[in-house]
Symmetry: C2
Subunit: 194 residues, 2 copies
């Protein structure tokens, strides 16, 4: 998605060879118009897959997922993230390890909102080591729902999450795949090579 | 907002005289179409106030705020919520006490995104004791930004937050004001009496 790549180049800050900060339009400040276009792009890719629910995770997944839900006319569930859960009776839960923060979080979704007959698009803002996406897939599996794919705004192509998911046969659609952040420069994987 | 009130009556669950759960369209599962209409409603109310930024708080404020930002064509900042902050150098911070959870959280906004010349609409999903809104107002004050008002999706009119804010001369616009939850029934404050 050219518009997104341009925004990353203009406003993204490369903090190290592995850290890209896009706080100005995705992770802290949100650009609603760009999110709308992101939603339209995902809707185009997944239009004919019969999606009934979008499943994402708080907080940065919410804006792009809500815009995608608007286009596809389906509800969006955002999984809750907690250090640990005490009451898990009516919840699907999964553990998500954050390599950045070096801590585990429990993510959860109420059993009220995800069912066996649901056709789910999993979404997130970033795909790096794939932990969040794997946690969401685990939750969809517990619900016995069908997953049609994973929609990612920015994939770090040099980390293993994308490969892990694709090796499982999961359809992963990333609107921008960053190939490298070395020398403080964002380099994208070319479309044709994806 | 009739549509919202109907949704609350249809899907809201009254758990006690003070607790209303709207997990099916606002706080866990999100109804993107309704959020779009919520955004349009806020935009109508605040259209001519020169807003340059919307300031909300993760996670449930993000969807309605992003839709409002889309209508008003302004960026949305969501304050981060943390138990405690270690690095606060480049942040505006405020403490927010949760009466429900009986704990304090520190909320923060990067100094990169809020400035003296900003005209801010503060938004949140719920207004009860007003702690979150007061925290966001405190952050706007630290940035020396101008606040034109507070936009709330659901106000609990029987709790003190709304009165506290209005007594300070702040314009508060709530799309639905719940007057009472007694006997397991949602009663709204009538429009004319607001």
């Amino acid at each position: 998605m050219e518009l997104l790549k341009n925004k990353i180049i203009e406003e993204g800050r490369v903090l190290s060879d592995t850290v890209l900060k896009v706080d100005s339009f995705l992770n802290h400040q949100v650009d609603p118009k760009l999110m709308k276009q992101v939603g339209e792009e995902f809707a185009k890719k997944f239009r004919n897959t019969g999606i009934t629910k979008i499943l994402t995770i708080e907080s940065s997944g919410i804006a792009p997922a809500t815009m995608t839900g608007l286009e596809l006319d389906v509800p969006v569930i955002f999984a809750r993230k907690r250090k640990s859960l005490t009451l898990t009776d009516h919840l699907f839960t999964a553990e998500v390890y954050s390599y950045t923060k070096k801590t585990s979080n429990e993510i959860s979704v109420s059993k009220d909102f995800l069912h066996e007959d649901d056709i789910v698009l999993v979404m997130d803002d970033f795909l790096a080591n794939g932990q969040a996406a794997l946690g969401l897939l685990e939750i969809a599996k517990q619900a016995k729902a069908t997953v049609v794919g994973v929609g990612i705004v920015i994939e770090k192509g040099f980390q293993t999450g994308g490969k892990q998911l694709r090796d499982k046969g999961i359809r992963v659609e990333s609107l921008a795949i960053v190939e490298s952040l070395s020398d403080g420069t964002v380099r994208f994987k070319e479309e044709a090579r994806i």
